[in-house]
């Protein structure tokens, strides 16, 4: 009797340890046995890093394991992405990035990996916002176009670097409004925004989450959000949509989230997805998204791949039209939008 009880208890203990219910058929769900590493290919403190950290904190509970963040910045994130790709396909190494960056590497000729090689778990969508210093004489988008026409190639616009989302937004604006500007690159989104606050540049078109705090503090003034719907920013007010001035403006913006190689075992992907679904729905992530002036998202699987593919058409061809592409998007099989 005692022996039987011991055996049963032991069975449950063992089952609990390896995570399998006795008697359940079918493929065993994946359960990580050691800490998972997310290699963030950007510096600590940036938008990607913050998103990854907050997602990791919420995904730890359903996975029952610690998630460790390692920052491996450089080459616009290309190196970190390649490191993750070169790791074994055991599900213990993930990355985190923005959709724009993941798309750009192949087009910019930095990596052979394209956006189709990854699976996405997006929890945020950040649109680009056109902002100027609070005391700028430029009052609205019309005023900005007039200024750019009055001083061709002399209105300075800061961005987080060549091919960054802020640069893409400025290029999209240039093509849509038929104007010119002077591109000033900084080492990241935050320094680009600070340059506008300090008055070193006149305009910044970085992502909403990067400008949010300076907008709330009334150091910057938003002219428009580069999307077809206005943006409601906590503690600032409504930012008008750019489409009220330039009707068929192609929306720019980036999704943010965790990414894993597409060829991971299905059981691993299912486990990551389950943990992601849980995390994306938490109050912590929702309030984080709202506070950062971004839209909350919960996209994974085919839906995430589809929105990435749609973004890829815009991003890849804008890079091509701006003369930044090393490889033609057509050659990568990305059709014109």
């Amino acid at each position: 009797m005692t022996r039987l009880a011991t055996t049963v208890i032991l069975m449950f203990l063992v089952a609990g340890l390896i995570g399998v219910d006795p008697g359940q058929a079918g493929p065993a769900p994946w359960k990580p046995a050691r800490p998972i590493t997310i290699i963030v290919p950007w510096a600590a403190g940036g938008s990607t890093d913050m998103t990854a950290r907050i997602m990791a904190s919420q995904m730890e509970k359903p996975l029952g394991q610690r998630i460790v963040i390692i920052n491996s910045p450089g080459a616009g994130g290309a190196i970190g992405m390649k490191e993750v790709w070169d790791r074994p396909r055991d599900g213990y190494t993930w990355t985190a990035n923005s959709s724009t960056a993941a798309i750009s590497y192949a087009v910019l000729g930095q990596l052979d990996l394209t956006h189709r090689d990854w699976l996405y778990f997006y929890s945020l969508y950040a649109p680009n916002v056109i902002a100027v210093r609070a005391d700028s004489p430029i009052k609205d988008v019309k005023g900005l176009i007039d200024a750019m026409k009055a001083r061709p190639g002399a209105v300075t616009v800061s961005s987080a670097g060549a091919g960054s989302s802020g640069h893409l937004a400025a290029e999209t604006f240039r093509l849509a409004a038929g104007t010119t500007y002077r591109h000033i690159a900084y080492a990241g989104g935050a320094p680009a925004v600070v340059a506008a606050v300090a008055g070193e540049v006149e305009v910044v078109m970085q992502l909403s989450m990067e400008a949010a705090e300076m907008l709330r503090a009334k150091r910057l003034r938003a002219l428009a959000v580069m999307s077809s719907t206005p943006l409601e920013l906590d503690g600032y007010g409504t930012i008008p949509a750019i489409t009220t001035i330039i009707p068929n403006f192609a929306e720019t913006g980036s999704y943010f989230g965790v990414m894993v190689p597409r060829d991971l075992p299905a059981a691993v992907v299912a486990a990551v997805d389950e943990a992601f679904q849980f995390a994306a729905d938490t109050f912590t992530l929702r309030s984080f998204a709202k506070h950062m002036g971004t839209a909350h998202a919960s996209l994974s699987g085919k839906r995430a791949s589809d929105v990435t593919e749609a973004k890829a058409r815009r991003v890849a061809w804008t890079l091509f039209d701006a003369g930044l592409a090393k490889r033609s998007p057509a050659e990568l099989g990305i059709p014109k939008p």
Partner: protein
């Protein structure tokens, strides 16, 4: 914020046992990270940000702040004991700390450096409490022009300080560092420079492997080269310095504190430059400048006060503008943000007590680190009794792990080895290593800001000389070069004839 709210916050903190436990824990973790070459304050903070996410905000911030203070204070141990700076901030500490240890005064040197660190941190934090809003504005006055000159100024000072008899070697090491930093994608157009088509080289050489290589590996090689058994007996009865001895240097402490805080406020420039500039100023104003580099107490105190005062300074733009004043402060900024305390101009409006609370945590953390540091001096000093040939294999393992751990790249281990050999050869030929590393750190700053500034004005260089802060920096750099140009032989004449621009001829 009145002194009373501060006092109330402080009392509340120290009477909370959980809080005190976490502060002590964070402080000790920080000291260990700071001590081990290759593990930096930045890394300690970024690891702990994840580990403490589940804690209530106040506790999490307390752990992180204590770790920050601990790491910047703890780095001087390895600088004094094995001549390898624990974090980049302690490069200047090596100059006098290690000679003191070799004279058998290691315990005294550690005691003094810990005391100076503590005073420095307290100075920086009190500046944070008093001037936060005001100094936040100064940070915004630094544009691309000023950052460029700041980088050049840094090289010029470090070069002339570390090669006092032959400054051209110091400046050459600095320029070599600047040049090495240009490998990789450039910061403006993402154009691959000197990468030979290799993806690993696109990110350039990472800072930590370069630092650990140049100092750690270089030191390993130069110890192993000599076949002598060097065991240093050190005097252990004086760990806690006498009050009078410290107070005698009050001028250096105040001045270095002020310099450190100001440099901390400037975004992107951190503890490493703060300690160099403090050290330089101390040497210029000292009555015994010949002692500097062979075991000067003044130099040690100035460098340590400077780098620790930088902490409080670096927090000022974090809390008032949401702009990090140094690399570890950037991680702290991210941590505050994900805990819902978005740093920036609105922080004080939304959370009126938060600055008082952070200042109180800083004060508690500083005192905790002070006590922890002094308790363990004696066991630490025993390191000097181990034959160095037996110690160095272990240091090498730590150097490898430190280079590898930061980004988990095997390539970084080879970078560490290569820079170790480079640093060793340069040192053997009479070049100082510190400007090489500083140049490497400042390379992107000089490069991006020069080109960005030229683009902003469409090629007009006049703002480089007419903007007020720029003009001051130019004058200081030129002064340094001219005052240190009694170069041996004809080089001096040649340099004078050319009327050198700061940094040689840039």
């Amino acid at each position: 914020m009145t002194p009373w709210t501060l006092l109330a916050e402080f009392t509340r903190l120290v009477t909370n046992p959980m809080m005190m436990f976490l502060v002590l824990l964070g402080g000790q973790v920080g000291i260990i990270f700071g001590m081990l070459p290759g593990l930096t304050a930045t890394m300690a903070l970024s690891l702990l940000t994840g580990l403490t996410f589940g804690l209530p905000v106040e506790y999490a911030i307390a752990v992180l702040i204590a770790t920050y203070v601990g790491a910047i204070t703890g780095g001087s141990r390895s600088a004094v004991l094995i001549n390898i700076p624990g974090t980049p901030a302690q490069a200047a500490v090596c100059l006098d700390g290690y000679p003191l240890a070799m004279q058998g005064r290691a315990a005294e040197a550690i005691g003094l450096s810990v005391t100076a660190s503590t005073l420095g941190t307290l100075f920086g934090v009190s500046m944070l409490a008093v001037f936060a809003p005001l100094l936040g504005q100064v940070a915004l006055k630094f544009g691309s022009w000023e950052f460029f000159w700041l980088a050049i100024f840094g090289i010029v000072i470090a070069g002339s300080l570390t090669a006092p008899t032959d400054p051209i070697k110091g400046w050459m090491a600095g320029f070599l560092g600047l040049l090495m930093a240009t490998v990789g994608l450039d910061g403006i157009h993402a154009f691959p420079r000197f990468t030979f088509g290799r993806v690993e080289l696109q990110a350039g050489f990472a800072l930590i492997p370069v630092l650990v290589g140049a100092y750690g590996m270089g030191e390993i090689l130069s110890v192993m080269r000599r076949d002598e058994r060097l065991v240093v007996e050190t005097n252990l009865d004086r760990v806690i310095p006498r009050v009078r001895e410290v107070l005698r240097h009050w001028r250096h402490i105040l001045r270095s504190g002020l310099i450190g805080t100001t440099i901390g406020v400037i975004p992107g420039v951190g503890e490493d430059i703060a300690s160099w500039v403090s050290y330089d100023t101390a040497k210029r104003t000292s009555r015994t400048p010949e002692q500097f580099g062979v075991g000067s107490i003044e130099g040690l105190i100035a460098a340590e006060t400077g780098d620790n005062a930088c902490i409080g300074g670096a927090m000022i733009p974090v809390l008032t503008l949401g702009v990090p004043g140094s690399a570890p402060a950037a991680v702290l900024l991210a941590a505050l943000t994900i805990h819902g305390l978005q740093p920036g101009p609105l922080l004080v409006l939304k959370h009126p007590h938060v600055i008082a609370e952070i200042v109180a945590i800083f004060v508690a953390a500083t005192l905790a680190v002070f006590i922890l540091s002094l308790i363990f001096v004696r066991p630490m000093v025993r390191v000097l009794l181990v034959p160095r040939q037996a110690l160095m294999p272990i240091v090498y393992v730590l150097a490898v792990v430190g280079s590898y751990a930061i980004a988990a790249r095997q390539f970084d281990v080879y970078v560490m080895l290569a820079f170790g050999l480079l640093g060793f050869l340069l040192q053997a030929a009479g070049f100082p290593v510190a400007p090489l590393v500083l140049g490497f750190i400042l390379g992107p700053m000089a490069d991006d800001n020069l080109r960005r500034a030229l683009t902003l004005t469409a090629g007009d260089p006049t703002p480089f000389f007419t903007r007020p802060i720029s003009a001051i920096l130019v004058a200081l750099s030129a002064l340094t070069v001219l005052s240190r140009t009694p170069l041996p032989g004809w080089v001096a004449g040649r340099f004078r004839a050319l009327r050198p621009r700061p940094g040689g001829a840039a």
